[in-house]
Symmetry: C2
Subunit: 374 residues, 2 copies
DNA sequence: CTGTTAGCGCATTCAT
DNA sequence: ATGAATGCGCTAACAG
């Protein structure tokens, strides 16, 4: 069944023989080496092109030949070597993702969605984490470039140096920034509309009749935090209420102190808005500790919903970021950029959703667990 | 500075010229193409071998030449193409990870640790999710093989068909199973010691004087669940107490019903042990709803610690799986297997840790948030 | 319809 | 110390 090839010259003859021998040796002595397209071709008595055609859709191949080749492929458990294919195609079918931490549910959700879309498009997802350190992020970017990933999904570091921005700017790979923009840059991005989300939450509290609303922030320098505070200020100003912002709250003790002070003032606060989920837990624990009742004495809303926020009693109202939508939009955008390299950078701002629960004054019984299945 | 190469034959001459022209064209018309080792060589006036040497450690190269080459590399922003390197080396410096869901904190932690170790060893981590479906897992495995990953870290599907086991068995890539073993197989694995963990928790309740301890399970068929129940039975039997196991609890309603029944029996239970974290939340909510006091009326311990377990009042005692240790052990084991392909399969059972909190009868005040920083 | 062949970018022998 | 030549596995011209 194997057609003999007529050697064209002594040289190619000896080479072919050597090669043949080597292969035979390999496959008999150890099964460590994988079979190649040539092994398949030889065993099926066809040329490599034909095998290649069979692998890639099987058009233009006689049905009987195709069957024979497919048979050999199964026999040999032949798997095409994607590295070789990449080398030829200049496409690796690979997407790189950089997040600060994969253990953060927000980023995990994004990674999950990204992976789903990649799979559907027959790409693989390379995961890496930066711990929000610019240096590490740069290094990962370099490695991704060496791997020639076809696209990049990255959460930029919270503080971006000029060097970093320059590096991103001259990136040859299509890239989409997630959660934070590339500062002052023409690179695509998909973000939560932090400002609008916070303004909404503020208005919600105002509608509940709250007049003195305290806004608690960890690091006011960060882009996300700045935006959130902007939203708060916007809504408060529009309602002609007093601005009460407290920044640089990093520990439970600080939160507790600020809270007690603001509550014992001659004109005490009647609501608290936290710019992230750690803060809201600090506040919640402090209130619990001092027996301050939610929502009668104080209303409370946090940023970033978390598991069990609805299980706690009283349940905590939160602004839920649209993590899935962000992941989906970013990944789809990335693929469209990969297909059309010239398109101008898109910037998406996706809306958040306020989840009212007991703590904000909405007396929604929160039947979180009913219907859930293990 | 560029040394002329003397063409050896008309043929190679025309080829070299063509090539040269092509390159020139590319780099002038569009900067889409990346520079190769040959561009660097030409610009530095050296051979590709020398460049290659400079890239890989720079030994055996004259210092001045090295500097010159390094300079050109920077100028051109040359990045070695790892696909090409893989083709030559037969190693991709790539590790594949398959987990059911990356949004599960347990798996996210494992992924995080795995990624750290990979980075340290100059490998990249390819992430994929199986949703615990065998078919999907098989497909991912096939893709990983095509990418020629150097090693595989996988959480096998909960139910493994014979076909799946065979496939894994003949895998040419070193692989470590996480969380679940490959059934009846010689493949390496790193697992929580579920049996021991559950036995410990049971003994803990017994030491607290509990006599009628109910064990709640979701799907008793699954390996992990079986092991946990075994641990419970072991400890209960050793103490000559009554075995009270209830399986197939999948919803909050079922949990509630079972609980109320067991509490209103003539000989009511005085403790509940849940075989997973969803169950413990079901139970917790049911108890809350019916005003049953923890831990006076009933003691409660769950399996798998979760964020906020210590923040709830009363705080929930849990068995904490050593997720980080599992990830670390599995990844390190994998790398050692990658370096020594012949070593016989290792099976590691890592101990869990019981985190006593109010719900089990230990009146530990749980200062979870003190000292934490945003 | 099918086979031959030339690279893709790199590391590596083997000369020098 | 350095370079020319070769081939890793695959795809795509280009012939037949």
């Amino acid at each position: 069944m194997v057609r003999r090839q007529v050697p064209l010259s002594p040289r190619s003859c000896s080479l072919a023989l050597e090669f043949h021998l080597l292969r035979r040796l390999r496959s008999s002595v150890r099964d460590d080496t994988r079979s190649t397209i040539r092994d398949v071709a030889r065993l099926a008595g066809v040329g490599t092109t034909t095998v290649s055609r069979v692998i890639n859709g099987g058009q233009l191949v006689a049905p009987d030949v195709r069957l024979r080749v497919e048979d050999v492929i199964r026999q040999l458990r032949y798997q095409p070597n994607l590295a070789a294919r990449s080398l030829k195609n200049e496409r690796t079918r690979t997407v790189g993702l950089i997040v600060p931490r994969i253990t953060d549910p927000f980023y995990a959700t994004i990674a999950s969605v990204a992976q789903d879309i990649c799979r559907a498009r027959e790409h693989i997802l390379i995961l890496s984490t930066s711990l929000d350190m610019e240096e590490q992020e740069l290094q990962e970017l370099r490695i991704f470039e060496q791997h020639r990933v076809d696209g990049l999904l990255i959460v930029p570091p919270k503080k971006q140096s000029v060097a970093f921005q320059e590096y991103c700017h001259q990136l040859r790979t299509p890239a989409v920034a997630i959660d934070l923009p590339f500062e002052q840059d023409g690179l695509a991005s998909v973000l939560t509309d932090n400002r609008e989300a916070m303004a909404n939450a503020t208005r919600h509290l105002i509608e509940h009749g709250r007049k003195r609303i305290l806004c608690l922030v960890s690091d006011p320098v960060l882009y996300t935090m700045r935006e959130r505070v902007r939203g708060y200020i916007e809504a408060i100003t529009a309602a002609a209420l007093p601005l009460l912002v407290e920044g640089e709250i990093h520990t439970a003790a600080q939160a507790e102190q600020v809270l007690l002070f603001a509550l014992s003032a001659p004109d005490p606060i009647d609501a608290v808005l936290c710019a992230n989920s750690t803060l809201v837990i600090f506040v919640y624990e402090a209130l619990q500790k001092h027996g301050i009742r939610l929502p009668t004495q104080l209303a409370l809303i946090g940023f970033d919903d978390f598991h069990l926020a609805g299980t706690l009693r009283p349940a905590i109202a939160n602004i839920a970021q649209p993590a899935e939508e962000i992941g989906r939009a970013a990944t789809n955008l990335l693929f469209s950029m990969m297909n059309d390299r010239q398109q101008s950078p898109v910037h998406l701002h996706l809306p958040s959703r306020l989840i009212p629960r007991e703590s904000c004054g909405c007396l929604t019984a929160d039947p979180i667990s009913s219907g859930r299945v293990v």
